[in-house]
């Protein structure tokens, strides 16, 4: 279990959006996992099992608190709509903020597939939903991120508009 801790913690941070809550969540997960070790079948996917316990804990807490930040009124989206082109690069800080504005289920799907590297099938197992649902959530998350970040090709590749035009041979 010790070997899984860094990845488990990173997943918790991606869900919670802050380190303190994430560490509390990981602590609760380890306790639950230890108490239910008899239910874990040795030789099967320990990582997926731990991830499932963690995400169930997170969503259970979320339902209780009913304080998910989904940016319903669009304020966060509006604050991030300044094109990164003006800075010349896709800012990591803005990317992190944008990720945190995604609905939790989309953020979870995107992180499991895009960051942890799980297959759609494995991610669906962790999220306890159909494979099609995971694919849909990942696509919606990517689309939403693109919208929020106002990303263009120049932004992505760190070029200003004039350079991008020259590179493309435009004009």
């Amino acid at each position: 279990m010790l070997a899984q801790l860094p990845t488990l913690r990173a997943f918790a941070v991606s869900l919670c959006g802050n380190f303190d809550r994430a560490d509390d969540l990981v602590q609760e997960t380890l306790l639950k996992a230890w108490q239910n070790l008899d239910k874990f079948e040795e030789g099967t996917n320990l990582r997926a099992w731990l991830f499932t316990i963690l995400r169930n804990g997170y969503f259970s807490e979320l339902r209780k608190r009913r304080r998910e930040v989904e940016d319903v009124d669009g304020k966060m989206t509006a604050s991030l709509s300044v094109p990164p082109a003006q800075q010349g690069h896709l800012d990591m800080q803005d990317f992190r903020k944008a990720l945190n504005t995604l609905p939790a289920d989309q953020r979870e799907a995107l992180v499991l597939v895009g960051a942890v590297g799980m297959s759609y099938e494995e991610a669906a197992g962790v999220a306890q939903c159909a494979v099609g649902t995971i694919k849909s959530r990942v696509n919606r998350a990517r689309t939403k991120l693109t919208e929020i970040l106002g990303v263009t090709d120049a932004d992505i590749f760190g070029q200003d508009a004039a350079t991008a035009a020259i590179v493309k041979g435009e004009g």
């Binding site: 860094p6 913690r9 991606s14 992180v111 508009a161 004039a162 991008a164």
Partner: protein, 63 residues
């Protein structure tokens, strides 16, 4: 490039081509993995390691 050709204004955004649009998921994925790896590479807080050690010690005692 001809003399008559105008360079776009400094803050004008170039139009994304279909190829650029296809590259977007890969670039977003790269940023996402970088963000994730950054947290993964941090040292695990003592309280989490100590918890696992305490649980393992407790189980050993029970045996």
């Amino acid at each position: 490039m001809n003399e008559d050709d105008e360079l776009p204004a400094g803050d004008a955004k170039p139009k994304a081509t279909p190829e650029d649009a296809a590259a977007l998921p890969a670039q977003l994925g790269k940023k996402l993995r970088s963000l994730f790896a950054d947290v993964e590479s941090q040292p695990v807080p003592d309280r989490l390691r100590e918890l696992l050690e305490a649980l393992a010690a407790k189980e050993k005692k029970a045996e």
